[in-house]
């Protein structure tokens, strides 16, 4: 008996629950084709960063004007005027179009905006470029001590609402875990139009170089352990909100995928594992998932999806326990 691996995500039927998360490999269409061939059921392209686009355009402008008209002998500036600067979103939109053209699986665009107008405008552009769905990659580091949590959440919600009204393709929202009440907030996001939630965004955290005392952004790839926070919230949200759930962060092995599916994820998204091991990792993980399902007599992914969510778990409290409590209970109070 063959196991049915299909899963539904954002209303799209995917051939399996393995999706490529936004990551640098996705900048290259050839690589995207290899990822598809290795088993990816959909790809999320790397994010279009509005801020970066604007910054780059302005930097080009600055550089071209720098030193110009300052002195009689170099009135025209120092760098030659180029035919094209490719500063706008076009290169990204071309990637969306090329990916859509080259792949059979759904192509999901990803957007990080900076201004309200920017979010909606770029969202529309990504839709028009051919994306099957859009993932909003929202984050604000709420470093302003005068801004309340409610205000921060309000900004997220307004944004989702605006983008939702600007496009017609399915809309997923990728958020970080730093909200006081993630469940409540998740529901609000769905209420304003999110078709799916992607849990969780992992931010680069700063690091310190002890020799130079410089503060550096440090990119660190995840491992399987990183995914357990996701697992908790997927399990808690499963069945409680009307939206697809994607698990991202810490998806490295078939075991990781299976656990997240059991908790209730519709799809699992991989990035670090692919960066470490290449596209072949998808095949390995998929084989592992298939094997486990067969071994454990599951007929389909749909069948097992969410079967161990908080609602369906024999020990719902386990998802709410903090770790040290768990340890305490496990070790100091054996049941009698």
């Amino acid at each position: 008996m063959t196991v049915e691996l299909e899963s539904t995500y954002l209303g799209m039927t995917l051939r399996n629950p393995l999706v490529v998360a936004a990551n640098p490999l996705g900048r290259d269409v050839e690589m995207l084709k290899r990822l598809e061939a290795a088993g990816a059921a959909a790809v999320v392209l790397p994010s279009l960063f509005e801020e970066q686009i604007e910054h780059e355009a302005y930097e080009v402008h600055n550089v071209m004007e720098y030193g110009a008209e300052t002195y009689a002998e170099h009135a025209s500036g120092f760098l030659p005027e180029m035919q094209e600067y490719n500063t706008g979103p076009q290169r990204y939109l071309d990637l969306v179009g090329a990916a859509r053209e080259a792949l059979d699986v759904p192509v999901i665009g990803s957007l990080n905006g900076a201004s309200p107008g920017g979010w909606t405008e770029y969202a529309r552009m990504i839709q028009d470029a051919g994306a099957d769905a859009l993932e909003l990659n929202i984050y604000f580091v709420a470093a302003d001590l005068d801004e309340t949590g409610a205000e921060v959440e309000g900004r997220y919600l307004r944004l989702v609402q605006q983008v939702r009204s600007a496009i017609s393709i399915p809309l997923a929202v990728k958020i970080g875990p730093y909200f006081s009440s993630i469940g409540h907030f998740a529901r609000l996001l769905v209420d304003v139009g999110a078709d799916g939630l992607v849990l969780f965004n992992r931010f680069n955290q700063p690091d310190i170089d002890l020799e130079t005392l410089d503060v550096l952004p440090k990119v660190r790839l995840t491992d399987s352990d990183s995914g357990r926070l996701t697992l908790r919230w997927i399990a808690i949200l499963r069945g409680r909100i009307e939206a697809s759930l994607a698990a991202t962060t810490g998806v490295h092995t078939s075991d990781d995928v299976l656990k997240l599916l059991l908790s209730g994820a519709d799809v699992t998204m991989m990035a670090s594992a692919l960066l470490k091991h290449g596209p072949v990792r998808l095949t390995t993980v998929l084989d592992g998932v298939r094997a486990w399902l067969e071994e454990h007599d599951y007929a389909s992914v749909e069948q097992m999806k969410g079967s161990l969510s908080q609602q369906y778990s024999p020990d719902p409290a386990a998802f709410e326990r903090a770790n040290y409590m768990d340890a305490l209970v496990s070790y100091s109070m054996p049941r009698v």
Partner: protein, 1192 residues
């Protein structure tokens, strides 16, 4: 036919035609002609085609001599060929020009006519260069305006093909080449119709080709050379007719009729001024006013100057002409008159003698010089000239525009007399180079030129500093074509885009009564009055100016434009000037922004649009009080108590009054005192570094890297500081050196440019607050007074005793007095720290030969020089010969020092008995290899001088003139990569091969920095530069390897930001090696597209990536049979890409053409790997130095 109306400058105007009518363009950058080549290159790169459908090949050569050679070859190869040049560049072309003309070859050289360097270099305009080419056999065709620069270019290209005589088409550098004006552009059809296909075919048929071989360029003997030389005469005789035909054909097509000589003025004129070039504009206005006033005067414009068509000249004059005043924009010392004068005289005299003169009388002829180096030439001067010919005994040879109180040749003129049409709107804008004022004004000229029926003109004046430089824009608009080829004297609109300029410059001196004054002010309308200097208030009140303010910086910041205030001020100008209805103007401004910046991205447009939209709301009228209330005053140009020359001359130049200096005020031979930059207190920094002694670790890096010698360290004994003001800071030094002394790190608050490089390299960080370093950039205003007091005291303290210092260390070298200070180089310049280090180590015994380029400009452009002296009065003696000959020039200085030394030693030896045998022997055998030895020799020489004075014999007097030569001299040959790698390479190679004791410092910015960023052979692969806008496909020349090949040349490659100790060592080793030495110094430049504040970090990265290897090749080690090549940098630890992508010169290509960039970056990485492999092998090589005992 409707032809496009465009607003362009003279260079673009001429280059447009040249590009359309050429197949091969070989060029070399030289101001002010460089933009012609840059335009041609850019058009060809963009695929713009010539009228025959091909895209001209533009090739940058190593010098103008090379460009001329390539042009000669291309012409011989049958291509339609052109080039662009000026000044020394044209002179370098002369040998080829004789050949090209001698071979009757069609081709055109477009020249933005520029002063040839004599007693001084000047980048500005006159005819001394083209006059130096009049004997080559080229035809010379002059344009006098931006429109004509296009029209005559077309006529030149047509006439050269028809006549087979090569043409030199010229127009005045800057005044025409850089004036922006509204012109009618000829179409491709016009140009096609100008050229006869048969002429092109004939040109091509003359090509050297093995299918129909010929021999050209023979050597000839006395038997035939002469006759053969005369064989070309009929061709020259035909030229005037051919040119007139071309002019007529042009008139038939386009409507503008030109003649070989164009007369303008009263038909019955008695007095006629003859001239060519941009002065024609001013002369036209003067003649028009005088004729309107009933005077019988006129003007004859010379267009075809060579061959000089005497008949056409004479017949163009009204037959009533009684007197001719011939004006030459050149000087030919010793001649009976300047060239045009002589031609006119000959033409009149010959016709007079023959009885064919078509005039009623034999006219009186006088000749005068005007306008050298773009000296202003105004209608008032033309009037003075026309008045002079009317005088009873006019000066037969005069000058006009200056006050000559030496030879008394100058004519007086009335500066109040004006002939400028009343219907012209005149506006003046004062800004800084960095704020975009000039760019916006160029746009305004375009907007008015292209959106209205008005004619428009823009001309831009820059000062000679590269940091904090002021620009003044002169804009005119009017219903008729604008002929005023001179600066605005009375402006109805004056804008000052920088508040700080009010206390430095007389901004309102040229404001017209009742005019408008727009000020970019950080203070609101109700506060600004009290912030104005009294002199400004006085003029506002007296001239009844309407006064408005806008806080341009706030508006720009709000719009996300940082410090670029140009669009804000531009919008305010249109809001006030009433040239175009405001709404229309705003639309037009936006359109022009879209046109200028559209390619750079929507963000750039939106931010500029936002600034435009917010500008008028931020504009506020100031209620002007009736009286002057301010106690603030304009700063004097120099402080009190300065040397006499500085007071009389330098200060006037700094104050912008150089035009008023009479001839007697100036040195006769171009010799100026050094140590003058210290008097030019520019105070341009907003933030300056402030020292915190608590944290300082006494490393001296800040002082080493400072491009302006504006942060210094000093060690003094506590006794020397006994009278220190309370505010004066010191600390005990960290190391063992200077252990009984106190350290001070001090900023020169008025000389610092605020680049922040010192703070960036400071390694000492507070333990409590990491961002707080031992020096920190802080707002200048908060510290100015205290720091001035500290610095004054700092300067008054005794210098360290050089003989006790270990100078071959960062700290030791920085304890020495810099003899290069406060230069006008760009803020954060990457070159000047090396020059300054050299001055500290050897400045008191150095003669510098400086190649033309940035270093000669910040080193020797008036008003002041950064080269300075020790308290004893010793310091670098400096000179600039040319661009191409600097190594040879420096060698000559070495040879002279050696020759003088030889003569001194011989004479001293002969005088041993008189002077004292012991002293003489000590002098002759002195070891001057270190500071102590030099100091001792100075003492001995002083003792000898004392005895010689006492002797008082003629022999003693002879010896006294030679005693200086007994002291060791260090000769430094300094220049950039354009000189060392390209134009001066042949000479440099020869000098390195000479074995002589010279030190070459190559300030390698990897691009022609001074002329605006053109590629040189030092430009690396994958970088973009002008003439390499698609990314330079070939690798950088390895100059060090070439030098090393000689074996006896000391060679070092250094990068200050990467290894400071290695830099100091390399300088010391180079100087101490008694043969030739060369140091190739990595010098970041704003042309790299980096933030100069970070230049030292970027140097570090350049070395870490292997992009710039550090090494020293010391022939002394070859003598001892060791490994003479020391590879000082570690194996690359960072990919090239990581370094490169931080520089716009590489990153821009990655954006513009990612695929090409990827290919080139890969090749550049391979360059690095391969070079490292080679260097590592070299480091293992043993090498000897044969013949080291043979002396040169």
């Amino acid at each position: 036919m409707d032809r496009p109306i465009v607003t362009v400058d003279g260079n673009e105007s001429a280059a447009y035609v040249a590009h359309k009518l050429s197949e091969v363009i070989a060029i070399y950058p030289i101001t002010p002609s460089s933009p012609m080549g840059e335009h041609a290159d850019a058009w060809s790169n963009a695929g713009t085609r010539n009228v025959w459908g091909g895209s001209p090949t533009v090739v940058e050569m190593q010098s103008e001599g090379g460009a001329a050679g390539a042009c000669h070859g291309a012409i011989q190869g049958g291509a339609l060929t052109t080039t662009f040049t000026a000044s020394q560049g044209l002179l370098l072309m002369l040998p080829n020009m004789y050949k090209i003309a001698g071979e009757l070859s069609a081709g055109v050289i477009h020249v933005a006519a520029r002063t040839v360097a004599t007693h001084a270099l000047s980048i500005f305009g006159d005819h001394s260069d083209v006059m130096g080419a009049r004997q080559t056999g080229f035809a010379l065709l002059a344009s006098s305006s931006v429109q004509e620069a296009q029209d005559m270019a077309a006529i030149a290209h047509a006439a050269t093909l028809k006549s087979r005589i090569p043409f030199l088409h010229f127009f005045d550098g800057f005044r025409t080449s850089h004036e922006v004006a509204k012109i009618e552009r000829v179409t491709e059809d016009d140009l096609r119709a100008m050229i006869d296909a048969e002429d092109v075919a004939a040109h091509r048929r003359r090509a050297l080709d093995p299918e129909h071989p010929v021999l050209r360029g023979t050597a000839q003997n006395p038997d035939v050379f002469f006759q053969a030389r005369e064989a070309c005469n009929p061709y020259y005789e035909a030229v005037p007719g051919i040119v007139q035909d071309a002019m007529d054909r042009f008139a038939g097509l386009v409507g503008r009729q030109y003649r070989l000589f164009d007369y303008h003025g009263a038909p019955d004129a008695e007095r006629v001024v003859v001239l060519m070039g941009s002065g024609v504009g001013a002369a036209t206005e003067a003649v028009d006013r005088l004729v309107a006033e009933g005077e019988k005067v006129g003007m004859l414009v010379v267009r075809l100057y060579r061959p000089f068509a005497a008949d056409a000249f004479l017949s163009a004059l009204p037959e009533t002409t009684e007197a001719l005043a011939v004006l030459d924009r050149t000087k030919e010392p010793g001649a009976t008159g300047e060239p045009l004068y002589q031609d006119v005289l000959t033409a009149v005299a010959e016709a007079g003698a023959d009885g064919t003169l078509p005039l009623q009388t034999l006219p009186r002829i006088v000749g005068g010089r005007y306008g050298l180096s773009s000296k202003e030439f105004t209608p008032a001067m033309v009037k003075a000239v026309l008045d002079e010919v009317d005088a009873e005994t006019p000066k037969r040879h005069f000058t006009v525009g200056i006050v000559d109180d030496v030879s008394h040749l100058s004519l007086e003129f009335d500066p109040e007399w004006t002939a400028e049409p009343e219907d012209v709107v005149r506006a003046l804008f004062f800004g800084l180079g960095s704020d975009g004022t000039v760019g916006a004004n160029k746009n305004s000229v375009k907007i008015i030129g292209e959106h209205t029926d008005l004619h428009a003109q823009g001309y831009f004046v820059y000062d000679s500093k590269k940091s904090g430089a002021m620009t003044v824009s002169h804009l005119r608009f009017g219903p008729n074509p604008i002929t005023s080829s001179y600066l605005i004297d009375r402006a109805g609109f004056v804008a000052c885009h920088q508040f700080g300029l009010l206390e430095k410059v007389d901004v309102l001196g040229r404001a017209r009564r009742g005019g408008i004054f727009l000020l970019n002010s950080p203070y609101p309308a109700d506060e600004v009055w009290d912030r104005l200097p009294a002199e400004v208030q006085r003029q506002i009140v007296d001239k009844e100016l309407r006064f408005l303010v806008v806080d341009g910086y706030s508006v720009a910041r709000e719009a996300g434009l940082g410090g670029r205030i140009n669009t804000v001020l531009q919008t305010c100008f249109f809001g006030l000037a009433d040239v175009i209805p405001v709404d229309e103007a705003i639309d037009a401004i936006k359109e022009s922004i879209r046109k200028s910046y559209g390619k750079r991205g929507e963000t750039v447009l939106q931010r500029n649009f936002a600034a435009v939209d917010a500008a008028l709301d931020a504009l506020h009228e100031v209620t002007v009080p009736e009286t002057v209330t301010s106690e603030l005053h304009r700063r004097p140009p120099v402080p009190e108590h300065v040397p006499d020359f500085v007071e009389r001359v330098t200060a006037r130049i700094i104050a912008g009054e150089g035009d008023l200096l009479p001839v007697s005020a100036l040195p006769v031979d171009g010799t100026f005192p050094t140590a003058t930059a210290r008097y030019e207190k520019r105070s341009i920094a907003m933030e300056i570094p402030i020292w915190d002694p608590e944290i300082c670790i006494d490393c001296a890096r800040c002082a080493l890297v400072c491009p302006h010698a504006a942060i210094r360290i000093r060690y003094n004994t506590p006794d020397e500081l006994a009278d220190a003001p309370e505010s004066y800071l010191t600390r005990e030094p960290k190391g063992r050196d200077f252990s009984d002394m106190l350290l001070t790190v001090q900023v020169a608050p008025d000389d610092c440019t605020g680049c922040g490089v010192c703070v960036q390299v400071c390694p000492a960080k507070s333990k409590e607050m990491v961002k707080h370093k031992a020096i920190n950039m802080e707002p200048k205003d908060e510290h100015l007074e205290v720091e001035r007091e500290r610095y004054e005291y700092f300067l008054s303290r005794p210098e360290v005793d050089r003989t006790t210092v270990n100078t071959v260390s960062v700290k030791g070298s920085q304890s020495l007095l810099p003899l290069f200070e406060y230069s006008g180089a760009c803020s954060g310049c990457g070159e000047t720290p090396y020059v300054k280090l050299m001055s500290q180590l050897f400045g008191d015994r150095t003669v510098i030969a400086n190649a033309t380029g940035c270093s000669s400009i910040y080193g020797g452009n008036l008003p002041t020089t950064p080269y300075t002296v020790t308290p004893e009065g010793r310091g670098p003696a400096w000179s600039n010969s040319l661009f191409e000959d600097n190594a040879e020039f420096g060698l000559g200085i070495r040879l002279a020092a050696d020759a003088r030394g030889e003569a001194a030693r011989a004479l001293l030896e002969r005088m041993a008995t008189d002077v004292g045998a012991e002293l003489v022997e000590a002098i002759l055998n002195a070891d001057q290899s270190d500071e102590a030895g030099i100091a001792e020799q100075r003492a001995r020489v002083a003792a000898a001088e004392e005895r010689l004075e006492a002797l008082g014999t003629p022999e003693a007097a002879e010896m006294l003139a030679l005693t200086d030569a007994l002291l060791r001299k260090s000769v430094w040959i300094v220049g950039g990569d354009g000189w060392a790698y390209d134009i001066g390479f042949g000479g440099l190679d020869h000098v390195l091969a000479s074995g002589r004791d010279v030190n070459v410092l190559v300030l390698d910015t990897e691009v022609y920095s001074n002329t605006g960023g053109q590629a040189s052979k030092a430009t690396p692969r994958a970088a973009v530069a002008k003439f390499a806008s698609g990314g330079k496909p070939t690798g950088k020349k390895d100059l060090g390897q070439i030098a090393m090949a000689y074996g006896n040349v000391y060679v070092a490659q250094v990068a200050m930001g990467a290894n400071m100790t290695q830099v100091v060592k390399a300088f010391a080793e180079a100087e101490s090696w008694p043969g030739p030495s060369i140091i190739i110094a990595y010098s970041p430049c704003i042309a790299h597209g980096i933030d100069m504040t970070n230049q030292m970090d970027q140097q570090k990265l350049a070395v870490q990536s292997g992009y710039w290897e550090l090494y020293r090749f010391d022939p002394r080690l070859a003598v001892t049979e060791e490994h003479p090549f020391k590879l000082d940098s570690r194996p690359p630890s960072t990919p090239f890409k990581e370094f490169a992508m931080k520089e716009a010169r590489f990153a821009m290509l990655a954006k513009a053409n990612p695929q090409r960039s990827e290919e080139l970056m890969e090749a550049a990485q391979e360059d690095i790997t391969e070079r490292r492999r080679l260097y590592e092998q070299l480091a293992g090589l043993e090498r000897g130095l044969p013949g080291e005992d043979v002396t040169v």
